[in-house]
Assembly symmetry: C2
């Protein structure tokens, strides 16, 4: 790997080393899975301090070019599957096009929902699957394997501050499957379709589950602190309130304790169930993760809870892992488990066993820590690239895998034009229009962005994508903060 730095170039040595490695990957000189020299060796070879190389590696780890694997630093093996722009390579199948006018392969797919999975496949991961495959004949109870439920209870206790008994944990095939289970249980109990309040803007995939099962979707606006609880009283009585209190989706921000208490009190008073989508509660960058809403709900200890917490491992591990959990309060549990027994569990025994092994080895905790650091670095990249633009404002990002860029003074047509222009520049992003359930609805707070972009931070091509996105958003040249 020829790597030359120029001390007279007026560019930091860290940036030069990182750029050199990036170019080597883009040119094909380094390929996915290749092992890099140690930081000490590389520092000697290039003639810089070891700290410079460590900092450059950290940067490239954060961007997703490099992974740590069995004590070595490697080029992310996943890059072998992705077209690296600039590298002469065979044509790759096109991703789903955002615009028919777009030409060529995208430089970076920054649509949200795709986490950084690099480094997931390590010896612990392999061992967990190996052990699980050896016992494939065993079927688990519909509620889930006792070993996995115990490991999950411990996980949510440590990571999310929610003390639950393993008996309260139901193993699900993910957040959407958990939501189906809860909605069908409550609907059977009520003998009719449910009225389900959702956040507006909110997570479209969960709203679609509600509608797909024939229930009524009632969008209620959020403000900077999450769902506006007082607006619930203006609505017909809801059966279910679906919220993201840990990190409002997509705007970010955690629901303050006062509002959490108000929401739980409202639900108790109205006989409603609060479903908490705890989709990335453990991935906070600043301070400790906010405890789950359920932690507060159960604090009394006497009263039966009204909060069901849904979580999964789609973000911290991989979207294809296909396992999640539902924490179900006592009063609801018999009905949920009866339905689970009738329908059968969709979660394969082998996957439950593999995840139980992985959790028991402490690997999830370690990976969460790594992901938190990595996404913090990625957040910093986004802040550096997009924070001084005249017509766009990046909302504060204190956690999670995506950011929201508000388009100042824009309307829906302008948002659409920006998404299209980004696509032409090779960068796929989502417009905020997709997140509104009620496009004509009331905007509660003037400081909430109505139109903007939602940008995922998981892409291995984040840095390049942000660089291309900047001029589309009205910025010129390189961001000052680099």
């Amino acid at each position: 790997m020829p790597l030359v730095v120029d001390r007279g170039a007026g560019i930091s040595l860290v940036v030069q080393v990182a750029d050199g490695i990036r170019r080597a990957i883009e040119s094909g000189a380094l390929r996915g899975g290749d092992v890099l020299p140690s930081t000490r060796t590389l520092a000697e070879r290039v003639g810089v301090s070891r700290g410079t190389v460590v900092a450059a590696f950290d940067q490239l780890h954060g961007e997703g070019w490099l992974v740590a694997d069995q004590g070595a630093t490697r080029v992310d093996p996943g890059l072998a599957d992705h077209p690296v722009p600039g590298r002469a390579t065979r044509p790759t199948p096109s991703t789903s096009p955002v615009s028919g006018r777009r030409t060529g392969a995208p430089v970076a797919d920054l649509r949200p929902g795709q986490p950084d999975v690099s480094g997931l496949v390590d010896p612990t991961w392999r061992a967990a699957w190996r052990e699980a495959a050896a016992g494939a004949g065993t079927q688990h109870p519909p509620q889930g394997s006792p070993a996995l439920r115990a490991a999950l209870a411990e996980h949510v206790r440590v990571a999310r501050g929610t003390a639950v008994d393993p008996d309260a944990v139901v193993v699900t095939a993910g957040v959407r499957e958990g939501l189906q289970l809860v909605l069908t249980t409550l609907s059977r109990r009520a003998g009719r379709p449910l009225r389900v309040v959702v956040e507006d803007p909110g997570y479209p995939a969960l709203r679609r589950v509600v509608a797909a099962l024939g229930h009524e979707v009632r969008p209620v606006p959020v403000d900077g602190d999450g769902l506006s609880v007082e607006l619930l009283d203006h609505e017909p009585a809801a059966d279910v309130v679906l919220v993201t209190p840990g990190h409002q989706y997509p705007l970010g921000g955690a629901m303050p304790v006062a509002r959490r208490l108000a929401l739980v009190a409202w639900a108790r008073a109205h006989g409603a169930v609060v479903v908490e989508d705890d989709y990335d509660g453990e991935l906070r960058f600043t301070g400790e993760p906010v405890p789950a809403l359920a932690a507060l709900d159960r604090r009394g200890g006497e009263d039966d809870g009204v909060v069901v917490t849904l979580g999964s491992f789609a973000k911290v591990l991989a979207p294809g892992i296909g396992v999640g959990h539902a924490l179900v309060p006592d009063g609801l549990r018999p009905d949920v488990l009866a339905l689970r027994g009738d329908l059968g569990s969709p979660v394969p025994a082998t996957v439950q066993d593999a995840l139980a092994h992985y959790l028991d080895a402490g690997a999830l905790r370690r990976r969460t820590g790594r992901m938190r650091r990595r996404y913090r670095a990625r957040r910093d990249l986004a802040v550096a690239a997009l924070s001084d633009l005249p017509e766009a404002r990046l909302r504060p990002m204190d956690g999670g895998l995506h950011g929201v860029v508000e388009l100042l003074g824009a309307d829906a047509a302008r948002e659409h034009a920006v998404v299209e222009a980004a696509a032409r520049a090779g960068v796929l992003v989502a417009g905020m229009g997709d997140y509104w359930a009620d496009p004509g609805g009331l905007v509660v707070s003037a400081d909430l962005p109505r139109h903007g972009l939602v940008i995922g931070l998981g892409s291995p091509h984040l840095e390049r994508g942000l660089r291309r996105l900047r001029p589309v958003l009205g910025g010129v040249g390189s961001p000052a903060a680099r």
Copy 2:
């Protein structure tokens, strides 16, 4: 392993050798996973012909004591996890009791639904999971991984005579999950709960899915040829007819072609959908497997099909595998896939990848052949043990993993008493009462058993269980056919 035969005992040498090996396992002299001597070595050591040892091994393979593994014959490693009666060992957790009056651990759990999973974990199985775990980050489309769908289409073409395009295959989390998907799709289309005809007697687990989702269950009696199609005209118009044409559950027997044609014609005429639960169609002992109903439905080629076929790998592989398939005709597919997209697939990517590797390696075909031979041997054991009883009649078993013992002239109370007596003798079996949706319903054909036992053939303790069951059913001594 001390093994002595007595040529003057009047007992066949094969039986003596097999008994000796069984006793060695029961006493703990041979443990799960232990490798047995080769047939040649053992024959020399015991002083019998090699053919005698081969026949004894075959017998013990069929009963589930031995497995073939990497060229060697081993004691089933799964036996390490089961209490082997007669062996002095630590107390094991009790299984769910059938009767409170029962004392001690069961000698054999012959309840249906538990297949023989011995020999499943072989090098091909391990390799499939190893490869799958290495690519865990990849998420598949909601319809399922293209590689798995192609492998499944080839599987049903070869194993079930159904030529389907991979685009017609939807990967499910099993038969019950596939049924949910179809029912919810049709219910959305109709805008109301469905009227679903089920076979009576029939498979209780699928009936419960129908009821759990709020649809109406309409039991229609079967006769010796399966569902009585002419009785459908006496019913209010059904939206869905749920059948097991390949092997009626639990009575056995395949639906003749004339009746299949009548059923499809009836469904076309009434705008109904036939859901075919193809639960063990490939496990026929006599002749070739009967083609799936869908094969006949699609034969015209012009008309759009009305048959959805559901299958899984719960029986041939393991109940915990958690993957099945739905073959969906063209007209229904857009709606099924739209719902699948809204709800998301519950099937983990890693499991889809592992199964695709396993199928691509030809391992499923080989295992199906092995299982067919093994269950044929087990069927022969049941026939030998239960075919000459005065008050009970074993129904013909031409395939599958269970048999039905008709209790001649019995009523429900007598059936219950027999199930209880079997449990007291250490043998768990199911009574036929569990299989009737409509216990007071019309019995169409006088030669159909109304009361009896359903006996699973998958237990490693089948032979011992049958021996204990014989006196409970009024037989004396050892069966003649041994």
